[in-house]
């Protein structure tokens, strides 16, 4: 594709120094609008991870393993990204709408005195312009947006762009980028960090997700679904209403202000499918819904559906699973 765009992907590294999956997604998104795709990797492991980024589509990787660059020190990350982008001069900057990205991208945009287009689900070139598509009004509508200022800064919704297949034959440079970061740049410190071990499959990575909505009526009904999830080797998910009611922790929430997931099968029980919820699961390969209301929104995006009371449907479903030997 002949394109006048230079893309800079702000990649991410995991806390253990390997390439975070969002990086591959951003590189794939960048490939739709630019031939020249530079990638920035900040933190321990950046140089080695840079090789992987080349295989996933970066034409050049800028790496810095400065000790101040950690996922907790977003102040340092913003400063680093700003310095790097000022050196590299991209026309477009792509950031993931991740925990780090959603703090980094807006601040980076305002440092360049440019707007941010947040949470994009599609991106394309239209002549000289890049046009991004993003959901608005909780997902009720989609907006196609172009920006005349450069650099254009966009965040891309996770699990929306499939990474390009890793190509070991791809060659490209991984260079060390020279940055001037001082410890004093950090103004937010982490005082405490509690990890709560979650049982079972990880929601973001599970191939099958069993999700419950407010319609299950009582938290006493949750064990039946936990058991179903375990039987199916699935992760458990929930709508925001379930979390707001205090029945499950926020870490189970799927939706616009929860997790974006893309499982093979998203099996929902008593979820109506409001736009904000669908925003989190719209990239599921197959959505299946059980709900009393034949008119509810989730059936409009479901491959299979049962109109009925979950309390009556579930025993039949579970019994058949058992007969089929699904365990």
């Amino acid at each position: 594709m002949a394109s006048n765009q230079t893309a800079l992907v702000i990649g991410e590294l995991t806390d253990t120094g390997s390439l975070d999956s969002i990086t591959g997604e951003l590189l794939a998104a960048a490939s739709r609008v630019a031939d020249n795709i530079e990638c920035l990797l900040l933190g321990a492991g950046a140089t080695e991870a840079g090789q992987q980024a080349i295989q996933l589509g970066a034409t050049k990787v800028h790496a810095s393993e400065d000790a101040l660059l950690t996922n907790i020190n977003v102040d340092a990350m913003v400063e680093a990204a700003h310095q790097a982008a000022s050196q590299i001069n991209p026309t477009i900057v792509l950031v993931g709408k991740t925990l780090v990205g959603r703090d980094l991208a807006p601040r980076l945009a305002f440092r360049f005195d440019v707007p941010l287009v947040q949470d994009c689900i599609d991106i394309a070139v239209d002549g000289e312009q890049v046009v991004a598509t993003r959901p608005v009004y909780g997902g009720n509508a989609l907006a196609k947006i172009a920006c005349s200022k450069t650099p254009q800064v966009l965040t891309m919704r996770p699990k929306t762009f499939d990474p390009l297949p890793a190509d070991a034959s791809k060659s490209g440079e991984v260079v060390q980028i020279s940055l001037n970061i001082d410890a004093s740049v950090q103004r937010v410190s982490q005082v405490e960090r509690i990890t709560e071990e979650q049982e079972g499959e990880k929601l973001e990575e599970a191939k099958i997700v069993v999700a419950v909505g407010r319609g299950i009526a009582d938290p006493a009904n949750l064990p039946a679904f936990e058991s179903l999830a375990k039987t199916m080797g699935a992760a458990l998910g929930a709508s925001r209403a379930v979390v707001d009611a205090g029945w499950l922790d926020h870490s189970y929430q799927v939706g616009l202000t929860g997790k974006s997931i893309a499982p093979e099968l998203y099996l929902t029980w008593a979820i109506s499918g409001a736009s904000q919820h669908m925003a989190g699961c719209t990239n599921a390969k197959n959505i299946v819904a059980i709900n009393k209301d034949p008119e509810c929104n989730i059936f409009k995006e479901s491959r299979f559906g049962v109109v009925g009371d979950w309390e009556k449907v579930l025993p039949g479903f579970a019994a058949m699973l058992s007969e089929m030997g699904v365990a």
């Binding site: 959603r102 703090d103 947006i145 937010v188 099968l265 699973l321």
Partner: protein, 265 residues
């Protein structure tokens, strides 16, 4: 020393508006005000108000509120006063009608600089109309102060703000020296109902007024160069296959079979 807190709030279309009332004007590329569905205060901004009022109750604080817009519905926009805020300022001007996040952050930052010194600026994590989640970060960047997002708990002590935020696998506690901006998420709940006393006091209070000229900002600086080329309601091309049975339990059995047939389980 009691903290001087500012809460930024936005009047938005009710996110519970039924889809039958959700209509787009193709010419202006804007969503039309739904018939018979009044606007509301942005849900996450109510969480921000709650955070402010808890600090006021526990440690003492002055809670001021600001909102930027052009067509305020008094019943809606005065809700922070009914909840217990001390003061409300409306930043109102034609140019603020449909202003995007870029212009909003700049305008609010200018207004905040004019209004005085705040220790803590609290905002909802995002507005339910445009879901941009970046005005507060823009304000922090322009004012040169730290910003912590998605708080589930906010405490102020010894010139610092201490924020708890939920993570995908647990939570963390972050700290920053004041002044700072903090955005609040719905995990900071429950949100209090306005008391009758506060509602009556609020009805007697007149909000302070500011306009573009008061904040001394050039209208051209508010334009970030974003163009909405199209705004549309997506049409799903998915056709749902409904599974039926002799009764609901039987439908459950048939569903399991169907999923096996489709190689999904």
């Amino acid at each position: 020393m009691p903290a001087n807190i500012l809460v930024c709030v936005k009047q938005v279309m009710d996110p519970e508006t039924p889809m039958s009332q959700f209509k787009i004007d193709g010419a202006t590329k804007r969503v039309l005000d739904p018939q018979g569905v009044p606007p509301v205060l942005n849900g996450f901004d109510e969480n921000a108000m709650e955070a402010a009022l808890r600090i006021k109750e526990n440690d003492g604080a002055t809670v001021s509120v600001i909102s930027i817009g052009n067509q305020f519905v008094m019943d809606v926009i005065k809700k922070p006063l009914s909840m217990g805020a001390d003061e409300l300022t409306l930043l109102q001007d034609d140019i603020f009608d449909g202003l995007d996040a870029f212009g909003t952050a700049k305008s609010l930052a200018s207004a905040i600089q004019k209004m005085g010194d705040f220790d803590l600026i609290l905002c909802g994590r995002q507005a339910s109309d445009f879901d941009q989640a970046h005005v507060p970060l823009g304000i922090a960047e322009i004012l040169g102060v730290p910003c912590i997002t998605m708080a589930s708990d906010v405490q102020v002590a010894d010139g610092k703000v201490r924020v708890e935020r939920k993570l995908p696998d647990g939570y963390e506690v972050l700290e920053a020296t004041l002044p700072a901006v903090v955005t609040v998420s719905n995990e900071l709940a429950p949100v209090r109902y306005p008391t009758l006393r506060n509602i009556m006091q609020a009805s007697r209070k007149q909000p302070n007024s500011m306009s573009l000229s008061d904040i001394e900002i050039d209208a051209a600086a508010l334009n970030g160069g974003l163009e909405i080329q199209d705004l549309y309601i997506p049409v799903s091309d998915v056709v749902c296959e409904f599974i039926e049975g002799e009764d609901e339990e039987d439908a459950g059995r048939k569903l399991a079979l169907k999923l096996r047939e489709a190689k999904l389980i």
